[in-house]
């Protein structure tokens, strides 16, 4: 049974431990703006349910208005970074805030670079 316990521990360790092979791991973000964007996304994910419920109370014609005002105040009291509106879809590789195609999460310049080197699957220069 000690062997079984060891096996369980091994299995857990295997899942937790990263592999020993050198893989490219992103340990740094491109710049601080990207890091802040990441923080905002995480926070928005955490508070998403609560915001949804409070907004359901607010955007309502059945409940009394006093209740809705209270809900307004409550939602304003939540941390500022928890709202999804502050998230900006930046380029994943260069952190460019503008000119980012949503499907590839890349800015137009990076996209063009990869497409010309034939590293984008199914992307071809248009000619018609």
């Amino acid at each position: 049974m000690a062997a079984a316990a060891l096996c369980w521990a091994l299995r857990a360790a295997r899942q937790v431990l990263p592999s020993s092979c050198p893989r490219q791991v992103r340990s740094y973000y491109v710049d601080w703006r990207m890091l802040r964007d990441v923080k905002r996304r995480k926070m928005a994910y955490e508070y998403a349910d609560e915001r949804l419920r409070i907004n359901a109370i607010r955007k309502n014609s059945i409940l009394p208005k006093e209740l809705q005002e209270v809900a307004d105040k409550e939602i304003a009291a939540l941390p500022r970074d928890s709202c999804p509106v502050r998230i900006r879809n930046r380029c994943v590789l260069t952190s460019r805030p503008r000119g980012v195609k949503r499907r590839w999460r890349l800015s137009r310049i990076v996209f063009r670079h990869f497409a010309d080197h034939a590293q984008m699957s199914g992307v071809q220069r248009a000619m018609w």
Partner: protein
């Protein structure tokens, strides 16, 4: 050099010979056959240390001293390496034992004390005759005599050990093993089938070749596995009694550390792209194909649990705007296919808690 020692032992076979018996009868018995052997088996490599006496005379009658006989024999010996020789050597050493037992009463010079032959311990002293013979061999050779003698004696000891082992343990008689084996003989037709079978196509000649193949296989399986005498090569593995289950203690920190260490050491980097993809799939980076849309969603609830959520509305007042509001909430949740039942229930409970907190406010209104 070892061939000489081997020859010594081989020479110990008491084959019946036509020699006249003398005082050194046993010695004659011992050494008479070696010359016969040397004549018969001519397949040999050239001996490294050609003895200085290149005695041409091979057999002489009993007037010679034993030592002279021995030296003559050594002169004829050559180094030989063959499996058959070793076999005979082992057999000879066995028979020599028996010969010793027989001869002890008759032998006058170099009498073998009874204790030695019957003593089957490893540390027993060697047969003094053999020791004498070894010293004679060593003296005959030009190089390091002491070293040669000690090596020869060591060889003799080893041979005696093997014979003891053979006597004690189950005899792995090689004759039994070989008797069961037969040389595989194939008819020329089957040769042709085998060769052509590799080249020909399946579609055209498949029908023709397959039945012949099956006949060949049936011929091979003629000798079943369980036929024949037991060879006593393998010892039967004793079935170990199942160990009683030990009491489980929660894995200590040291166990976890050890497990982590083992996992780190055994995790080899992937040798090729396939192994890399396997590793990614295990980690969860790569999805499993064919893609399962419901991975991670283990909603075991039935459809009625999703739709009929009114039973959760028991904590709310039966009339009023709140009830109206909650019924709308429930209607919306029942139409939502993306949430699990648990999440929907959590929504409703949050609302319940929220409205209870705001009860005072609601009373004022």
């Amino acid at each position: 050099m070892w061939g000489l020692a081997a020859r010594l032992l081989a020479a110990a076979r008491p084959h019946g010979t036509a020699r006249p018996h003398g005082t050194a009868r046993s010695k004659q018995k011992l050494f008479s056959t070696s010359s016969v052997l040397s004549k018969d088996k001519d397949k040999s490599t050239a001996s490294k240390d050609s003895p200085p006496e290149g005695a041409a005379k091979k057999q002489e009658d009993g007037a010679e001293t034993p030592k002279q006989q021995l030296l003559d024999i050594i002169g004829n010996m050559k180094v030989e390496v063959s499996y058959r020789k070793k076999l005979q050597q082992l057999k000879a050493s066995e028979n020599k034992k028996q010969a010793m037992n027989k001869v002890e009463g008759l032998d006058s010079e170099g009498s073998v004390p009874q204790g030695i032959t019957e003593d089957t311990q490893r540390d027993k002293p060697l047969n003094p005759e053999l020791v004498k013979a070894a010293s004679a061999v060593a003296s005959s050779l030009p190089h390091n005599k002491k070293q040669i003698e000690s090596e020869l004696l060591a060889q003799l000891r080893r041979h005696e050990e093997t014979t003891d082992k053979q006597k004690k343990g189950g005899t792995i008689n090689i004759r039994n093993v070989i008797s069961e084996m037969t040389v595989k003989r194939q008819s020329p037709a089957q040769w042709g089938v085998r060769i052509s079978g590799r080249i020909s196509l399946q579609d055209e000649d498949g029908r023709r070749i397959r039945p012949e193949r099956s006949s060949a296989r049936s011929m091979d399986s003629r000798r079943s596995l369980k036929v024949g005498r037991r060879l006593n090569i393998f010892t039967k593995a004793s079935t170990e009694p199942e160990h009683a289950l030990k009491t489980v203690s929660s894995p200590t920190i040291w166990d976890l550390e050890f497990a982590k260490e083992v996992a780190a050491v055994t995790a080899q980097p992937p040798r090729n792209g396939f192994e890399e993809m396997i590793q990614w799939t295990k980690e969860g980076i790569l999805w499993e194909f064919p893609i399962d849309n419901e991975v991670g969603m283990e909603d075991d609830a039935e459809f009625y649990e999703h739709i009929f959520l009114e039973k959760h509305l028991e904590g709310f007042p039966k009339e009023g705007p709140i009830r109206h509001f909650m019924e709308l909430v429930i209607c919306g949740l029942s139409k939502n296919p993306y949430l699990s039942v648990k999440q929907k229930v959590e929504h409703i409970e949050w609302f319940q808690k929220y409205f209870e907190e705001k009860k005072e406010l609601l009373q004022e209104i």
